[in-house]
């Protein structure tokens, strides 16, 4: 009962967004009147939304690639050397995205990257860097949990005693074992990157605004248009989450067999 009530609380706003995005007009009534696909066509035909959509995808994909390349060696190194520094770094990574509010971090970017030495404010690369920094901890935590759970250290010792060099161990044992967690971590990373608004809104240039940044403008327009633009973002996020759930399930199945 309680869980159902809670699920209603979760799904009511989404349901209203969905209904609203197909509604012709919606002013001062419970639900909209009329059915139309007009709003979605409007989004499709709007050049600024199209551009933002593409920027968002570019940023998300680049973020995924860079985060993987950074997080896998990092997680491996920190779990292998259980020294004090490694422990501290892990804890720091766990709390850093929350301890530093996004607006503050963005302000830091404005201060540092608008200097003559580093005039990167407004570039897409800086947006990607911001997304990398804010998603790295999530990927890191997913990987560390999996490395501990799979007892990779033991497997690596075994491979070492069987004659495998570091490279062989990494590509034969570690990477295949981590592929599920890398993938499910990536889906969270891409979902966060696609939805990120608070930092990007302050550091993006006019031409490389991401989808959420442009989305905010539509809130001041027609309800139907706002609903359909929001639905587009929501569908992107849902696709990511569903992907994550599916990989997690197939991973747990693989473990059972």
């Amino acid at each position: 009962m309680l869980v159902i009530a809670y699920l209603v609380y979760i799904f009511l706003p989404i349901a209203l967004l969905l209904i609203g995005s197909f509604g012709e007009t919606w002013t001062n009534t419970f639900l909209p009147t009329g059915f139309t696909l007009r709003w979605y066509l409007d989004v499709w035909n709007d050049p600024s939304f199209r551009r933002a959509f593409i920027v968002s995808l570019e940023v998300a994909v680049s973020t995924c690639v860079i985060v993987t390349a950074l997080a896998v060696p990092l997680a491996y190194a920190l779990t292998r050397s259980m020294g004090k520094i490694a422990g501290l770094a892990g804890r720091f990574l766990a709390i850093m995205p929350i301890a530093a509010p996004p607006a503050v971090l963005a302000f830091g970017y404005i201060l540092i990257f608008s200097t003559d030495a580093m005039p990167y404010l407004g570039t897409t690369w800086l947006i990607i860097a911001a997304h990398v920094v804010s998603t790295l901890p999530y990927m890191f935590q997913t990987l560390v949990a999996d490395i501990r759970h799979l007892h990779l250290d033991k497997l690596e010792l075994a491979a070492e005693s069987l004659g495998a060099s570091f490279g062989q161990r990494f590509f034969h044992i570690i990477l295949p074992s981590l592929q599920h967690s890398i993938f499910s971590g990536l889906v969270v990373v891409s979902a966060i990157s696609i939805g990120e608004f608070q930092i990007t809104n302050l550091i993006a240039g006019f031409l490389n605004r991401t989808y959420p940044v442009v989305l905010l403008q539509s809130f001041y327009g027609a309800t139907g248009f706002a609903c359909s633009t929001t639905m587009v973002l929501l569908l992107l996020a849902c696709a990511s989450a569903a992907g994550s759930a599916l990989t997690a399930r197939s991973a747990s199945r693989a473990k059972k067999h």
Partner: protein
């Protein structure tokens, strides 16, 4: 093939514990068990031989070759881990073939060798199964096949049976011993289970607090322990504080025992050892005979273990006799004197 550990010392930088000046050797085809309580350094010894840690001083020779400084992957040792450490994403056959793959054996040949090894541990039918779908005993058999399949110089066993059920353990002991003998491979077997060590090994090394206390055949270790700790760790034992009275009498808390006291002399404090199965219920004669009563009694099937009280002291005994008795005897040749040590 042989393993020689010479004056080896190693200290973990983080905790300061380790092993000190250890000498253990295993001759060609021998299985040497290293036993001791947790923290005794037995697993550390194995890590040093495997190359996971490098000794601070001393030498380790595998087949006459000094392996100090040689990384683990180049030492050519087969190792079986307590947690099996089978690669979860590879099938059994792939696991067994993995070291061959590393050694660049062609695919068809390594598959054939892997199947052959699995056959020898009785798991040929499981070749294409994933390890996680098999029981612990089966997984450990696969691990054994993997450790032996690439003709390593020596076999290292790190508590291979302690994650298994008791009944399986006995079965696998025989299996390990059989394969080890078949291959004629020299093996070092670390375990905390003294019964396992005694039943499998050619020689047993007992370690305590990072030091080797005694290395001997199982029989010798049981019959001629060098000190109180070995006597207590291996099998059951009566251990009493005693004082030598004369050349063939020692005083224990419940009276005097006749025995051969050499090399100790009158007045020496000693620890007196008598194994429970040597205590004779309803003994005849007058030498080392004590009257008293049974104060604790547990029936274990083949034997009955009891505590016999004599004037406030207890004598532990084992017997097949079911009837009650009020007198026990200790044959003089069953009494051993060890250097005095506080309990």
């Amino acid at each position: 093939m042989s393993i020689v550990i010479e004056n080896c010392s190693f200290v973990y930088p983080s905790s300061g514990i380790g092993v000190h000046d250890v000498n253990i050797s295993a001759d060609d085809g021998e299985l040497v068990a290293v036993i001791g309580s947790s923290g005794s350094g037995k697993t550390t010894m194995l890590k040093l031989v495997a190359g996971f840690e490098q000794a601070n001083s001393g030498r380790i020779l595998i087949n006459g070759r000094d392996v100090c400084g040689v990384p683990a992957r180049l030492r050519n040792v087969g190792m079986v881990f307590q947690s099996y450490a089978l690669f979860p994403l590879m099938t059994c056959a792939e696991n067994v073939a993995y070291p061959l793959k590393i050694r660049k054996v062609p695919p068809a040949e390594r598959r054939r060798k892997a199947l052959d090894m699995l056959e020898r541990v009785g798991l040929a039918a499981f070749a294409d199964r994933l390890p996680s779908s098999m029981s612990g005993g089966q997984q450990q058999r696969v691990a054994l096949a993997r450790a032996l399949g690439f003709n390593p110089d020596v076999l290292l066993l790190d508590e291979p049976l302690s994650a298994l059920d008791a009944s399986l353990r006995v079965e696998l002991r025989r299996e390990i011993r059989r394969l080890q003998k078949e291959q004629g491979i020299t093996a070092l077997h670390v375990t905390h289970d003294q019964e396992e060590a005694l039943s499998m090994a050619d020689k047993v090394a007992l370690m305590h607090q990072g030091r080797l206390i005694q290395i001997a055949t199982p029989q010798e270790l049981y019959d001629r322990p060098v000190n109180r700790r070995v006597a207590a760790f291996v099998g059951h034992a009566n251990l009493w504080d005693g004082v030598v009275v004369d050349a063939d009498t020692v005083r224990v808390p419940f009276g005097e025992l006749r025995c051969s006291c050499s090399p100790y002399v009158s007045g020496d404090k000693v620890t007196v050892l008598v194994r429970p199965e040597r205590v004779m219920p309803d003994a005849d004669g007058t030498v080392n005979v004590f009257d008293g009563a049974i104060s604790a009694d547990s029936f274990l099937g083949a034997v009955r273990r009891y505590t016999f009280s004599v004037g406030g002291s207890g004598i532990e005994g084992e017997t097949a006799r079911r009837k009650p008795f009020t007198r026990v005897g200790i044959p003089p040749e069953a009494v051993q004197l060890l250097p005095f040590e506080e309990a």
